[in-house]
């Protein structure tokens, strides 16, 4: 089996992951769905290895749960989490039989390459991994029609990436271009100043014991509580409906991306 230019180096760190990446690379032009299937398996294998180090009790969980846990523990940076989620999502579509244009598979292959160097550094601590620039695997030249289709696919992927980026920017507490640590320091310094003024003025805090009590209450107990029970049940139902509306909106965007890709793959655009 020929060695992969992009992923061959992984054999020294994790042979199974390296093999899956190499297989994905070989399928990227001829069978994009199989490429995505292999990449999804690659990410799942990576996540399982990382979760064994971080939270072994979750080792049998689904990929989404494992990735969420790795994000919470800060083992996954925002960029790596985004790349892994993109592979998970597009891999799932491929597994469910959705037709995929080649450029979609190529984007995810590139994501996998970005992840591979970081992953090897984690699994072999202290290893000096030299990650070369990603090179699209060689292929036979395309006729004019196929070349135009490939170009359209790339344009669609750029649009999807831009829209996903906007969605992400809207949801995050800090913009990706902001210096989070500097902002945090400045806010805490300001808050400490206000705290000192309040203490000097003898202002009481909101009843911290009460806050702690509400924090500690089981959600079931809270829902049954004679004082809060009814409003909290209403709040629950109302909030759930509102969050579901946003989730449906986000899902409908992803569905629209999938449909556009399928139309392109079927030559219907």
């Amino acid at each position: 089996m020929p060695n992969s230019n992009n992923f061959g180096f992984m054999d020294r760190y994790d042979q199974r992951v390296g093999r899956l990446a190499g297989q994905a690379e070989r399928y990227v032009y001829t069978d994009p769905e199989s490429c995505l299937f292999k990449l999804r398996l690659m990410v799942e294998t990576m996540a399982r290895t990382l979760i064994e180090m971080q939270a072994p009790h979750l080792v049998d969980s689904d990929l989404s749960t494992m990735l969420r846990s790795l994000e919470r523990s800060q083992m996954l940076s925002r960029a790596h989490a985004d790349q892994m989620h993109a592979i998970r999502r597009d891999g799932n579509s491929a597994v469910h039989g959705e037709t995929t244009p080649g450029p979609t598979a190529m984007r995810r292959l590139h994501d996998a390459h970005r992840l591979s160097g970081w992953y090897c550094r984690i699994v072999k601590r202290g290893a000096k991994v030299e990650l070369h620039a990603f090179e699209p695997p060689p292929r036979q030249s395309l006729d004019a029609k196929k070349a135009a289709e490939w170009k359209k696919g790339e344009a669609l992927e750029s649009t999807i990436e831009k829209q996903r980026q906007q969605t992400r920017e809207a949801l995050l507490l800090f913009s990706e271009t902001e210096d989070t640590n500097a902002i945090a320091k400045s806010l805490v310094d300001e808050l400490k100043g206000w705290d000192e003024i309040a203490i000097e003025a003898g202002e009481p805090l909101i009843d911290a014991e009460f806050v702690a009590l509400v924090m500690a209450m089981d959600i079931e107990k809270l829902l049954e509580h004679p004082r809060f029970g009814v409003p909290s049940k209403e709040a629950h139902a109302r909030a759930e409906a509102q969050f579901n509306a946003v989730r449906e909106d986000l899902e409908s965007k992803e569905k629209s991306f999938r449909m556009q890709r399928q139309e392109l793959a079927r030559g219907e655009d």
Binding site: A55, L172, I183, V188, I206, Q242
Partner: protein, 143 residues
């Protein structure tokens, strides 16, 4: 959407993200668990569109503001929106299931600025507890 409506929404989003950020960092950490919940809350509960949430985080908006500006802004908000901000801020405080003294101070400052009674504040805390549980069904992950 008219320009004035857009500006009002951007102002609300800016106030929310500043209040949420202050609570998120008050214990000296910026854990990821607090991050996405703030945006989801803005979209779902405050009903702010995607582009408004992005605009609010531009340097010309949130970057120019201090905690004092946030307190002034919540003071001028309609009561219902003020309570929603208080609930959201307490939801963020709940995400790590403990309250640092500076978090309590920030909650107290906001509650005073909004003009919440103890009863109102308790209702916000209960709402926060309910929503935090909905957004972070992660007890099994923390096991």
């Amino acid at each position: 959407m008219s320009d004035s409506m857009l500006n009002t929404q951007i102002q609300l989003a800016t106030t929310w993200f500043l209040a949420a950020r202050t609570m998120a960092v008050a214990d000296g950490n910026v854990p990821k668990v607090k991050e996405a919940a703030a945006g989801l809350y803005a979209r779902a509960i405050l009903e702010l569109p995607e582009r408004v949430c992005i605009e609010a985080k531009q340097p010309g908006n949130i970057g120019a503001l201090k905690i004092e500006d946030c307190l002034l802004a919540v003071r001028n908000l309609p009561r219902e929106l003020g309570e929603k901000i208080m609930t959201g801020v307490m939801m963020i405080a709940y995400s790590n299931k403990a309250m640092h003294p500076l978090e309590v101070r920030w909650a107290s400052m906001l509650a005073s600025a909004i003009g919440l009674s103890e009863e109102d504040f308790q209702r916000c805390c209960v709402g926060a507890r309910v929503i935090a549980t909905m957004l972070n069904p992660s007890d099994e992950e923390g096991a």
